[in-house]
Symmetry: C2
Subunit: 203 residues, 2 copies
């Protein structure tokens, strides 16, 4: 019976395997060389996670060099895995998500256009922008009420939290704008392509 809530690391692995089939080591390198490393590298977490995903039927491992002492496994996503990935990526963003699980939200954001397309990415961003705006309002109220009673650095630490969310919100507004522009560009290219004989490539 598949676990109800896969870990962030498992989702990240699923999404990376969706981009292209990769070996365990190739996956590790992604975590080791990009800010994705926040979702934890180290063989001790990745190889067991890959095993779990394979056992659940979300990844399939093509074994290269089956006879040798060190067979290499290259992981690809399965239809069931893609289902799970899409389910994860298309879940609506809740107030709890932005309050407690921004790491998960941003990981989802990083892959949403890849898997679900530009329109879904745009919807995701709009949702996110709204949820962030609401959370900033709430946090600001909390700050106004609590700041007076707090010692200097405690207050500053709280202010930092508020400002991080404000920055994240400004970013979300820009993300919406950029994705809209992208969509417009894609539509224009599409129309030009159909009108003029598919001269502009879609990718």
């Amino acid at each position: 019976m598949p676990r109800a809530v896969p870990s962030l690391l498992e989702h990240a692995l699923l999404a990376l395997a969706h981009q292209e089939p990769r070996s365990g080591y190739a996956l590790r390198r992604v975590f080791a060389t990009t800010p994705m490393g926040h979702y934890s590298d180290s063989p001790g977490s990745i190889y067991p996670a890959l095993d779990r995903l394979a056992r659940r039927g979300w990844l399939s491992a093509a074994v290269h060099g089956a006879g040798s002492l060190r067979p290499r496994r290259v992981f690809s996503i399965t239809p069931a895995g893609l289902d799970q990935l899409e389910k994860w990526l298309s879940a609506r963003i809740t107030a709890d998500d932005v309050m407690w699980r921004m790491d998960d939200v941003m990981l989802r954001f990083a892959f949403v256009a890849d898997v679900l397309g530009l329109a879904a990415a745009l919807a995701f961003s709009c949702d996110l922008e709204g949820a962030l705006a609401a959370h900033v309002r709430q946090l600001t109220r909390f700050y106004a009420a609590a700041a007076r009673a707090m010692p200097v650095t405690g207050r500053l630490a709280l202010a930092s939290g508020v400002e991080m969310y404000e920055a994240q919100h400004r970013w979300a507004v820009r993300a919406v704008r950029e994705l809209r522009a992208h969509e417009r560009a894609a539509r224009t290219a599409d129309r030009a392509g159909r009108a003029g004989g598919a001269r502009v490539p879609r990718r």
Copy 2:
């Protein structure tokens, strides 16, 4: 033998017990009602953590209602606990800290003035400001190199990371400024106090 690296939750509990002796429930409530909840509330983590801290001799538990079926324990910090707390708070900030452990850094910041005083808080902020500036430069370089090859939302997600660090840095600059002002005010008050007969209270 005490663990080498206490968890964030343990440090948070130590710091809160340092502010004033508190019961397990009172501590839980702090986590449940403030953004400190990010360091995890829930009895299943807090009570065992308090047990560990008491076993290590960093907290001492004053038992109220010893005979009853539900004795209450009020935790205070011990000299050994204060040692540990000071050691944690006075550790220099490294590049790794800002890259991988900003949650720990900000938790330390929130308590540093409380435990070590304003001067230490100011030094901490200056360090932090410098480390953040360096990290922003590094991240910006990475972004410039990687952005071109990335899909839209992946690039935007990365940009979000850069902007979060930039916002954190701007905050740090302001924190330094505010703490300097605070120190100046404290010194002035002190001088006025000594000159005019301790009329202005230090706290």
